[in-house]
Symmetry: C2
Subunit: 273 residues, 2 copies
């Protein structure tokens, strides 16, 4: 999917919501455990219920890998279901990969060509030749971890690397990579005040913002500091939507919460566009 | 496996060789492609031929994920084969994972409990709460990327973070993590001169050193600067061993190259112990 197509979808749906498909068998409704593939059954129901209100889905691959072969089969079924039934949806493999050139190319092929994801999240620690193999794929997007939303982000990311915080160096340096136009960045929403500084370095790139809950606490702040002329934001919610209820009505409750977030997003978009 | 058991194996076999099982279907002998599971057939033959000369095997998970479900099945069969037939061998899932706490726990369970690996490689970018879930597993080992052997290592790792190179900060900071005794570090062999400085920060930890070829170019230098009183080194060779030949005799040729490296290692060990 091109960035243009993604922007068009955002305006059409009045939403820049990404739903995180982080499926944990201990948290999904019990009646689904009887299904042949409970993970896929859960995802299918969530997708069918929420797709009108979001523009992207983001399975975190760890949750699938944790279930071995069965998990991978569920991931394959999920991405195939999305690509077949909702091809207008932007898909993110939240895999946080990063390896040397040759190996990165294998990962890129696996996620982009074989599984058919539009994008994949990548860790920057190994630098240029670990990232560029992903950037080489046309109309595919590489979402680089810049500033994550966890406590450990303060271990290295916010520390000064040759005068500038490491996460800013990641932004600055990655801009010089070949095919840098295919870059997006992960920026934790719990640090919305950082967004202003980030936008000075990467005014045009899309930012994937995790950490905004169903209550939409800091959504306004994220939009104030992070939105650009192309919207430039994908705001993720995982547990707040997919685990809205553990009852038989889980998909309807997920839809309600997705709709509520979409409503707030529509207001933010109306203010700017 | 405990660190003590690993050290005992090193002295028994007079080897600290790790064989990288980075299986690429375009590089393995053609006659194996007729097998039901060519990847596993290749690994089994390589393992049977080389196990006397090495103390560890390291499948890079990217190579398996690149083949989807079939790849994961081959990885499972490989680790099961190792654990059943050669339980004295140290196993490394070269996965370079790193995610927030909850998700790291799922990865740790998948690699340590379900697949039964002794260790897994982890990227440090997300800091403490992305690493500690791995460290919590007793007699399992977390191998943190410190200084990698690729060109991109100079993008961030060698730059100064608050006065000290980022890779040294990773060493210093990770030493303060809970259960830090379960840490090992990846240190690229192409920078053997860095090893002296690294040993000042982490005198006791094992170092996993990639980038030493079949010719053993810098093995002596790695040993001079990196070996400690417990040996403290695992030196990896992948392509130099497993792709020694593309003919029917591939396993014998792999054995020859493994044996040659083991011989050089035995000499280095004899010099010190």
């Amino acid at each position: 999917m091109t960035t243009k197509q993604l922007i068009a979808q955002i305006h059409k749906k009045k939403s820049f919501l990404c739903v995180g498909l982080d499926v944990d068998l201990t948290k999904i409704p019990e009646h689904l455990l009887k299904e042949e593939d409970p993970i896929f059954a859960f995802n299918k129901a969530i997708i069918d219920a929420t797709h009108e209100f979001c523009v992207a889905y983001k399975p975190n691959t760890a949750f699938y890998e944790a279930y071995g072969i069965k998990g991978w089969m569920a991931l394959e079924k999920t991405i195939n279901y999305l690509n077949t039934n909702y091809p207008e949806i932007f898909t993110i493999a939240d895999a946080k990969r990063g390896d040397i050139g040759n190996t990165s190319t294998m990962y890129a092929k696996a996620f982009f060509d074989d599984l058919g994801f539009d994008s994949v999240t990548i860790a920057p620690y190994m630098g240029k030749d670990s990232v560029e193999p992903f950037l080489a794929f046309e109309d595919k997007h590489t979402i680089l971890l810049a500033l994550t939303s966890n406590e450990g982000a303060f271990d290295f990311q916010t520390k000064k690397l040759e005068g500038t915080a490491l996460y800013k160096q990641v932004l600055e340096t990655s801009k010089t990579y070949k095919n840098a136009q295919n870059l997006m960045y992960v920026v934790g929403a719990t640090k919305a005040t950082y967004l202003q500084e980030i936008r000075q370095i990467v005014p045009d790139n899309f930012l994937l913002v995790p950490g905004v809950g169903a209550q939409g606490g800091s959504l306004k702040e994220v939009c104030n500091y992070g939105m650009n002329k192309n919207v430039g934001l994908l705001v993720n919610s995982s547990r707040g939507i997919i685990y809205a209820s553990k009852g038989e009505n889980f998909a309807q409750e997920a839809m309600k919460n997705a709709k509520e977030l979409q409503n707030q997003m529509a207001q933010e978009l109306a203010r700017k566009f």
